[in-house]
Amino acid sequence: MNKIEAKNVDVYYGAKQALFDINMDIEANKVTALIGPSGCGKSTFLRCLNRMNDVIDICKVSGVVKINDYDINQKDTDVVRLREKVGMIFQKPNPFPKTIYENISYGPEIHGIAQSKSEMDNIVEESLRKAALWEEVKDRIHEPGTGLSGGQQQRLCIARTISIKPEVILMDEPCSALDPIATAQIEELIDELRKEHTIIIVTHSMSQAARVSQNTGFFHLGKLIEVGSTDKIFKNPTQQQTQDYITGRFG
């Protein structure tokens, strides 16, 4: 079943076109990796899926992006409700300069998910457990989240995102600021999260794409060159450009 369907998506930054006619289907409860050289538009495409491009004044998006068969690019789409369903993890861990507890309780609070203090405590603990962070921080959840290490901060951001139970989680190079051990922990986590969420991950590391994803899309110069199962893309790509990128001839 397709969770997300993108049809004829074009993106412009001012006069410069960043994405050309992207058509891509994303399967539910799978990890889809977006790979490609720097500046190829994979992050831009990712940001189309929760309308984060709205933040950029000069950015114009056209085309259809359907999530659960609903076109999110309509004028009257409520972006607040969209982003409640489609969470996002950023390249650099960006916890709020508040306590660990407040970082996680923020989402449920603004969306009115928890009815009582004990319910909120449960959500915080459950989210931290799912992000494999609970054991490390359970004694200091009222200390600042910014005091954690880089890998812990990124898992805190993941816990923050899953606290409101989004259906889709977008990850924009979530491990690029982390060391190999923290990266391994996040990758393990991604595989776990896939049971409940649909995950789309942008990555620079082809080995990471191969390790964590079931499907892969290859972007080059704003175009989606090839998309398919990760196995097929890495072992038997149909396009020459994909072949060249995978084997390290460019990028």
């Binding site: 933040v55 004044d57 982003r83 996002m88 950023f90 650099k92 300069p97 603004i110 910014t146």
Partner: protein
């Protein structure tokens, strides 16, 4: 030139550069030391006040009161202490001529009537007895006692006559001239007599002006800054506004004074000489300073925090109110305090809206006429009496203390509430 020589030259250039830097700092400190030394050496005597302790006979006949009955408060209030005072002064020199009696009177502040009366009210038991009473010396003798008046110049160029000095020296020998902390400098309003003039009116005037200024400028500036920085589209119109806010910050303060005069007083008919009008005028001046500080602090909040909140499904306003503004508040507050400190030292606009008037009452609300500290300095600096010279310096000290206090507050807020990210 070989490599070795070039290296030596480079080291020398660096040494020279550091020396220039140190010299510059030394110059700045030197100016500060000279300035502060001058102020303190001129002004510290203003915190001391000279009193003459003279024997006073609270004789019933002299006061035209019934000697057999203890006088009530009303009796004392109705009694004539002027004549009584003159009679008392004559006891200092029983042979005094008419002219000399007037000179004796002028040795004391004109409040001697009140001082004699209040002593009796506070000590009803002294009725019918002779007691020592402390009376404020005139500012001329005050200055003589503090050594600010040379005594060796011809009498006709001196404000204290030979006769007054003779009596004064005799009192001094008897230990009847005392110098005490000048509390009235802080509790009295302005006065034409230097020995009685105080800063209470101008201090309250400054305080009220600053409060009015803060309560108008801060919310308006914060809202303007938040809207411009977080919500307004970036286009030519907002650029135009930004340029004009920066221009506004550079407008000479006297222009704002004219605006206050022309609009607040003339058009809206607000009461002149009041801290209300002063505060509104100052808030116009402070507004751009706070807007610029607030915008700089908002800009300094990393965009990743905004993205994090937006990606959590927070609306634009929630993102701003829950995250951006609280993080920008310490910087905004310290900018506000610096803007207020600037407003506190402002003189020109206040003179134009009439806060330069002679005010001898202490204002109770921002709607009462008042002076302000810098304007008080200006008024006193224009006065001829020697007694006001030290007051000017003392008033500057109070103003400086106020400013240092505010700037320390700004530093404290910055250090205490500044949040670190990553």
């Amino acid at each position: 030139m070989n490599k070795e020589e070039r290296l030596i030259k480079r080291y020398k250039a660096e040494k020279r550069f550091q020396f220039y830097g140190k010299a510059a700092i030394f110059m700045a400190l030197l100016f500060l030391v000279v300035f502060l030394t001058k102020i303190f050496s001129t002004g510290y005597t203003a915190f001391q006040k000279t009193w003459l302790v003279i024997p006073v006979n609270y004789n019933a006949d002299l006061l035209y009161l019934d000697p057999d009955k203890k006088p009530t408060t009303e009796d004392i209030n109705d009694a004539d202490f002027y004549e009584f005072g003159i009679e008392t002064f004559i006891t200092l020199d029983p042979d005094a001529s008419e002219d000399q009696i007037m000179e004796l009177k002028k040795m004391f502040a004109f409040t001697f009537e009140r001082e004699l009366k209040y002593y009796l009210l506070d000590n009803p038991d002294s009725f019918g007895k002779t007691v020592d009473v402390k009376l404020t010396a005139s500012d001329d003798l005050d200055q003589v006692f503090k050594g600010n008046y040379p005594r060796d110049i011809p009498e006709n160029r001196r404000r204290a006559s030979d006769y007054q000095l003779k009596i004064f020296d005799k009192l001094n020998e008897d230990g009847r001239v005392i110098s005490e902390f000048n509390a009235s400098f802080f509790t009295n309003a302005d006065s034409r007599e230097a020995e009685l003039a105080g800063i209470a009116s101008s201090f309250m005037g400054s305080l009220f002006s600053i409060l009015v200024c803060l309560s108008i400028a801060f919310p308006v500036a914060l809202l303007a800054a938040v809207y411009l920085e977080e919500f307004a589209p970036k286009n030519r119109f907002t650029d135009f506004i930004e340029v004009n806010i920066n221009n506004l910050a550079a407008v000479p303060s006297i222009v704002f004074g004219l605006l206050g005069l022309g609009v607040l007083l003339a058009v809206f008919g607000l009461p002149r000489s009041t801290p209300l009008v002063g505060g509104i005028t100052l808030s116009l001046m402070t507004l751009p300073t706070i807007i610029i500080a607030a915008r700089a602090s908002l800009k300094a909040v990393p965009p990743s925090i905004r993205e994090a909140a937006l990606a959590m499904g927070a609306s634009k306003m929630q993102t701003t109110m829950h995250h951006t503004v609280p993080l920008a508040l310490p910087g905004t507050l310290s900018g506000t305090i610096i803007g207020l400190a600037q407003a506190l030292g402002e003189t020109a606009p206040l003179i134009l809206i009439g806060m330069v008037a002679f005010v001898n009452t202490i204002p109770g609300t921002p709607m009462d006429p008042a002076a302000s500290l810098p304007v008080q300095i200006y008024i006193w600096a224009e006065s001829a009496e020697r007694g006001f010279v030290e007051k000017v310096s003392a008033c500057i000290m109070v103003l400086l203390f106020f400013l240092i206090f505010m700037n320390l507050g700004a530093q404290l807020i910055r250090h205490k509430f500044e949040k670190k990210w990553n």
